[in-house]
Amino acid sequence: MKPEISKAFYKSLFDNLIDGLAYCQMIFDAQKHPVDFVYLEVNKNFEKLTGLSNVIGKRVSEKIPGIFKSNPELFEIYGRVSLTGNSERFETYVGPLSRWFFVSVYSPRNKFFVAIFQDITSRKKVEKDLEDARVAARNVLEDLSGEKAKVETASAKEEAVLMSIGDGLLATDEEGHITLINTAAEKMLGRTMGEVLGKVFFEVIPVEGEKGESIPVERRPMSMALISRTTTSTTTTGGYAYCYVRKDKTKFPVAITVTPVILSGKLIGTIEVFRDITREKEIDKAKGEFVSLASHQLRTPTTAISWYSEMLLAGEIGDLNEKQKEYLQEINHGNRRMIDIVNTLLSVSRMELGTFTVQQESVDIVAIAEDVLKELQIQIDEKELEVEKDYGSGISPIESDQKLIRMIFQNLLSNAISYTSRKGKIYLEIKKMAQCVHFRVKDNGCGIPQSVQSEIYTKFFRADNVRVLKPDGIGLGLYITKSIVEALGGTIEFKSKEGEGTIFSVNIPSRGVVKGKT
């Protein structure tokens, strides 16, 4: 090949090179440090890649001011290459041009160099984005691991707590299959997790009444919670407790609370907590027995006082003068008060301990009311009170407890009489309603002052305005009445104005429903 043809060939290579090419002369300072360079030749694409034009014969420090500061490595490398003759390749970011370049540089002759470079800005960007994404992903991963660890720790803690709490804990799915049972429950029931997990609750945990009677599935708290989707509990006091039957056929009384678990409006299962209340029942029994015994003890001396006074006052041991009669009557009166207090305290403690049982019998409300009025007739006549009765029609006997209904009437009617002045009026209304019997006792007596109305049902509470009218009241009557009404599943309320009178309204369900107890 002739030299001219070669030269043209190489020229065309030079011009068509995609990369940028610059042939430069290095410039050194007095200390022989490379500090600048002059562009001698650049190819066509140099301008495209760098954005620099008219560079031939110019120094880079002119064309890119600040380049020495921003990219000292350029000068270092170019200087080294142009002196040593060793070629090098490197990547660099040229700030003033905002581009990344990949440079390949060699030296054709001493103090001169040729740099061939590519704009790798976009590649760099992609690389950076990738790296950023990688870092972000790694952070997310770390966060997740952290959260996961937290959740697992919390979960482990909860599990530890649940497994170790003293109460029995069971969880079921929405169909009553057991999904969880803790250690306490296993111990109390004498069954292991392996035996009951996945099985239907009602089949593996049998229940009995205290006296061994069977309890239908629908009356069990778990059933009721699943159906009604509300928290259901048994009561611990009074009446019959449910008993769980252990694997070995022995049983123990329990207090059960079942809570349905609802997620986004859908029932997904239940959680039951139960407690062995054998001890509580024993304590209740002991208390009940103590109360019985104490009442007996208190009543014996009062019986003696009562009967001996009676015989003396009747003149059976000789005549008495007026003063003697009077004193004896005081003794009698005091004694009578003691007996009343004892009777009332007994009622209260029986109510609190739930040791009284609510009978379900046929009760003629009107007959009881009439009977109580007859009992109180002496006081009614003494105070010349007018009694108006309004018994609705068709009041059939209801299913309730005779003794307790009687106590309600006794309390409300005797209160009305006690707290109404001479020649006042008492009004008794009894009406049959859809599911209950409604009765009202109204008087135009001294009324209950507004300021104390909220306390009127409190034990031993007596308003000031009645302490004069009836000095020896104990303050337990309304407490007992309210307890009875509630035990019968009824409601009681009153309206009263001081100086004008009071109305007490009571509703008793016709069908002996015992409220709140399962």
Binding site: H296, R299, T303, W307, Y308, A314, T355, T357
Partner: protein
């Protein structure tokens, strides 16, 4: 006027003042009164004396009233049928008591503090006049 045969009442009561009050009152009312101070003594006395009616306390030492009543009811035909009035200070809402009462059928259950003597006498007379 022919002498009325006095009816015989057996009072079984462990509290001596209360026992004495009943004895005095019923004697004055024209009854023949015999007494016992616990269930055991009461049982023996009842068997021996065969009273027309028994006034029986419940809580007593040695043998309580309900146990005595059960024993009495099982003892003989007479024991099964003799009228018994429980005269006690126990409140009548214990299930066990009610069970025994249902089984052994006393005529009445009177809580002493709620009954005057004259009312008790009236109840006794009422029961005796019933066949």
């Amino acid at each position: 006027m022919a002498e009325e045969i006095k009816k015989k009442i057996l009072v079984i009561e462990d509290d001596l003042p209360v026992l004495q009050a009943i004895v005095d009152k019923f004697t004055r009312e024209g009854f023949k009164v015999i007494q016992a101070k616990d269930g055991e003594e009461g049982f023996m006395t009842a068997k021996m004396e065969r009273p027309d009616l028994i006034l029986l306390d419940i809580i007593m030492p040695k043998m309580d009233g309900l146990s005595m009543l059960k024993k009495l009811r099982a003892e003989s035909l007479w024991g099964k049928n003799v009228p018994v009035i429980l005269l006690t200070n126990l409140s009548p809402d214990d299930d066990k008591i009610n069970e025994r009462i249902a089984e052994d059928g006393p005529a009445y259950y009177l809580v002493k503090t709620n009954w005057s003597m004259s009312d008790v006498v009236a109840k006794v007379k009422e029961r005796l006049n019933r066949p």
